[in-house]
């Protein structure tokens, strides 16, 4: 591990740092071809010159990823100035971060919500969705019983079966949530084309956020069941 100093940023988006030509959006200066610093606040969609839509053709995205990798990778800059090497490192790491996020439909939605200020990184609601309260209560009870049975040598097998059953049940719910999320995402894309007002946009974003919260809650449940089953 080594420490580098943040390079003094040249205000991007205005002129090329090398030839001072006016810059349109892009990775390189169209006049002299030099790699450019990343404008502050560039989001992953913009990096790929994509609108903030949630339906992305994975094959086209991968193709673009390979094309940009070919141009931006540090391999191209081993003999360039330190400034250009740093810019390459910055752009190519951003490219990889962006591709990693956008290729995964779920991560893509989380990222959009994060960018639009609806979600905090790593913050997931820990309270159970109301419609699941009863099932969650039952599940937690079974988990307790299993732990107890294991400690005291009780009937682990039948408890196992019960847990496997509720795990399947929750997995099914996850599938349902994924479908719901995909459908709201499509609504978002359609709304974006129709120049939506703020209220419409915010309502769609809030719905996606709410589904994601439920989803992550259930996922945590399933993970804890899996862990207990593995130990039992």
């Amino acid at each position: 591990m080594s420490v580098t100093k943040t390079q003094s940023q040249i205000v991007p988006g205005s002129a090329c740092w090398n030839c001072k030509a006016a810059l349109p959006a892009g990775h390189f200066c169209s006049a002299c071809g030099k790699i450019q610093p990343l404008p502050e606040g560039t989001d992953y969609f913009a990096f790929f010159a994509l609108p903030q839509k949630l339906t992305i053709d994975p094959v086209a995205l991968e193709g673009e990823f390979h094309k940009l990798s070919w141009k931006l990778h540090p391999d191209n800059f081993t003999r360039a100035t330190e400034h250009e090497r740093n810019l390459s490192l910055e752009r190519s790491s951003q490219l990889n971060d962006a591709y990693r996020t956008l290729r995964d439909p779920l991560a893509r939605i989380e990222y959009l919500l994060l960018r639009l200020g609806l979600r905090k990184e790593g913050a997931t609601k820990q309270q159970a969705p109301p419609e699941l309260l009863e099932e969650v209560f039952e599940l937690n009870e079974s988990l307790d019983e299993l732990r107890e049975a294991r400690a005291e040598g009780g009937d682990v097998a039948s408890l196992r079966d019960r847990l496997v059953e509720s795990q399947n049940n929750f997995n099914e719910k996850l599938g349902g949530l994924d479908e719901e999320l995909a459908s709201v995402a499509r609504e978002w894309d359609a709304a974006l084309d129709a120049q939506p007002n703020d209220a419409t946009r915010n309502a769609l974003l809030a719905r996606m956020n709410e589904i994601l919260n439920r989803r992550s809650y259930i996922r945590n449940l399933v993970a804890s069941v899996q862990k207990e089953l593995a130990e039992a």
Binding site: M1, H66, W70, H73, D75, N76, T78, L89, N96
Partner: protein, 612 residues
């Protein structure tokens, strides 16, 4: 500027390769004995001279306390990490070492990067002799599953050897590159790399684009402490037990026999790849000899658990790549241990296809490194490697829990930004602990570094420090911080948890007497002088020979050349000495011919040449 090479710094053997400009094909450079394999063994003799490779390996038998092998196992590790190794490897670790291991060889202490640097220097000298030119830049390979500290230690070794490390490349990726060149294949490739000390599996996707080929690593996994060494140790354990029960001897009390036996068993292991049985015989004490026969099936039963251990990382890597064994188009074997039939069979059965092993598994990694070195050096890109970071990067949060900020198998370079603030009023520092690993708790992960962000005193939560973590194309972490309120960049004092600080490496560099270029020039001068002495002696002898009938003009011309060479010898310019040697050679061509012809005549007359 000198030459650029690719180096495979292996646990058991190290190799150096370059790209031959005429053929465009990578080639390994042989050492003095004609072999391209340099045993990764270093020995220090009583007057402090360092021996590397075959001569050092000889000294494993005669001077085991001054000789070290498998030092790669110690790279980037702390004393606490290697307790299990110490029971199996005769490393003599200095008690005072903690975060940086210091190994005792004779009466001196060395860090693992210093020892590795000696191996790199030896390889560098092979190449310099081969090119008659300096070598100053290299691509060095590392196991894909090496963590940050192990990579940094390898980079430090390169620096200490006087090499600019252009890039660290993962071994299986380098192998895939050499393999892809060879086969021109597209699709999914699994590289199973079972070497002397480490095991790696990488899943790659080979893509053809209009610009060139891309080798994209999808996932990687491995075990940095699983290799042929473990097989040797298993054989040693059997022998140790049997020596105890059959001969009533404690092997470890017979230090000189340990290495001899180890060698015999390694030879047996190699032979069992082609024979069904092999006899081992080794003298343990002056009166007692251990001998036994190993059959292949016995050997296979012994090593089955070790081979089985490689399959868990294989399954994890496939799961991360979201692929099944059947979806692999090719399986490539790398590393000496893949010569073992059981390994080939295990891999073939799992992937349901015969693995490729047509490339020399010892050389393929170095060859790939040479290809990458050429791309970086020439700036002419014919292919692109997209590699990944093998381990997740995280920071410690409340309660010792890890927050992952860059997941494993992310394409590198990769980055993450984290915002830090103060929790209490007038707090002046924020502690950050960076770790690598897959476990949930900090105590189970590998600590990379700790540092403190300095903040001006103020209300809690006011400070806003953005820290950018960036894993570069070598897989090494860089950290930069920025105070978002003032816009100032932050200086961070990072204390690496393991390994040498920059200052320590600098210090070692200054301390090392033989600097790279000086080293090369000196060696060239010594060689040129030796050659000059030989030709001067030969010329004088020829002058004294009664059969050397040459004109006075020719004689004068030779005498002039001799004088010129002698004056060049008084200086230190090896190029001038070489030039004068050439001139003298030129001047004596005719004389040499005369002598040769009369010698032939003498021989034809039935006399032995020696008598002339």
């Amino acid at each position: 500027m000198g030459r650029t090479v690719g180096i495979d710094l292996g646990t058991t053997y190290s190799l150096i390769a370059y790209l031959e400009p005429q053929t465009g094909a990578p080639k390994c450079i042989p050492g003095p004995n004609g072999s391209t394999l340099c045993p990764s063994v270093v020995s220090v003799d009583t007057d402090g001279r360092i021996l590397v490779g075959d001569p050092a390996r000889e000294r494993l038998l005669t001077n085991p306390d001054r000789t070290i092998y498998s030092v790669k196992r110690l790279m980037g590790r702390g004393v606490a990490d290697i307790q299990d190794e110490l029971t199996r490897f005769p490393f003599r670790i200095d008690e005072k070492s903690s975060n940086v291991i210091r190994v005792r060889l004779g009466d001196k202490l060395f860090t693992p990067p210093e020892i590795s640097a000696y191996i790199l220097r030896e390889l560098k000298s092979w190449a310099e002799k081969y090119f008659s030119d300096t070598v100053d830049r290299a691509v060095i390979t590392v196991p894909a599953y090496f963590n940050d500290a192990q990579r940094q230690a390898t980079k430090d070794a390169g620096r200490l050897a006087g090499l600019e490390v252009l890039r660290l490349v993962n071994e299986p990726t380098a192998a895939a590159l050499a393999y892809g060149l060879h086969k021109q294949k597209r699709g999914h490739v699994a590289v199973y790399d079972f070497g002397g000390g480490t095991f790696d599996i990488s899943i790659l996707k080979l893509i053809s684009t209009s610009e060139g080929d891309i080798y994209q690593v999808l996932s990687t996994n491995g075990d940095t402490h699983l290799g042929g060494d473990d097989i040797d140790n298993a054989l040693m354990d059997v022998a140790r037990r049997e020596i105890h029960t059959q001969l009533g001897l404690e092997l470890d009390r017979h230090g000189e026999a340990v290495q001899e036996l180890r060698r015999a068993l390694i030879r047996a292991k190699h032979e069992l790849s082609s024979s069904e049985k092999v006899a081992v015989k080794c003298r343990i004490s002056s009166t007692q000899t251990y001998s036994r026969e190993f059959t292949r099936s016995e050997f296979e039963n012994l090593i089955r658990p070790i081979v089985a251990r490689t399959m868990a990382p294989v399954k994890l890597a496939l799961a991360d790549a979201k692929l099944t064994p059947k979806e692999m188009d090719e399986v490539v074997l790398v590393g000496g241990s893949t010569r073992i039939p059981l390994v080939r069979k295990t891999v073939g059965d799992y992937f349901e296809r015969p693995p490729h092993c047509e490339l020399n598994p010892d050389e393929v990694v170095a060859l790939g490194a040479a290809v990458q070195a050429d791309i970086l050096e020439s700036g002419v890109k014919t292919m692109l490697l997209l590699d990944v970071t093998p381990l997740s990067l995280g920071i410690e949060t409340m309660g010792g829990v890890i927050a992952k900020i860059i997941p494993r198998n992310s394409t590198i370079p990769a980055s993450a930004q984290e915002m830090f603030t103060t929790g209490v009023e007038n707090q002046t520092g924020i502690d950050v602990h960076v770790l690598q690993g897959e476990r949930e708790l900090a105590k189970d992960c590998r600590s990379l570094a700790r540092f403190q962000l300095k903040v001006p005193p103020g209300p809690a939560g006011l400070a806003r420090i953005e820290v950018r973590f960036l894993i570069d194309a070598n897989g090494i972490l860089q950290v930069a911080a920025k105070d978002l309120r003032s816009g100032d960049e932050h200086s961070i004092e990072v204390q690496p948890s393991y390994g040498l600080s920059d200052a320590e490496v600098e210090h070692m560099l200054e301390e090392s007497i033989e600097f790279a270029e000086q080293d090369f020039a000196e060696r060239q001068l010594i060689e040129a002088r030796t050659e000059a002495e030989a030709i001067l002696t030969a010329t004088e002898k020829a002058f004294r020979d009664p059969r050397s009938e040459i004109s006075p003009a020719e004689r004068r011309s030779i005498e002039n050349s001799v004088a010129a060479l002698r004056s060049a010898l008084a200086g230190t310019d090896y190029k001038l000495v070489r030039q004068r040697i050439d001139e003298l050679n030129q001047a004596t061509t005719n004389l040499a011919e005369i002598l040769m012809n009369s010698a032939l005549q003498t021989a034809l007359e039935g006399k032995r040449l020696d008598d002339v």
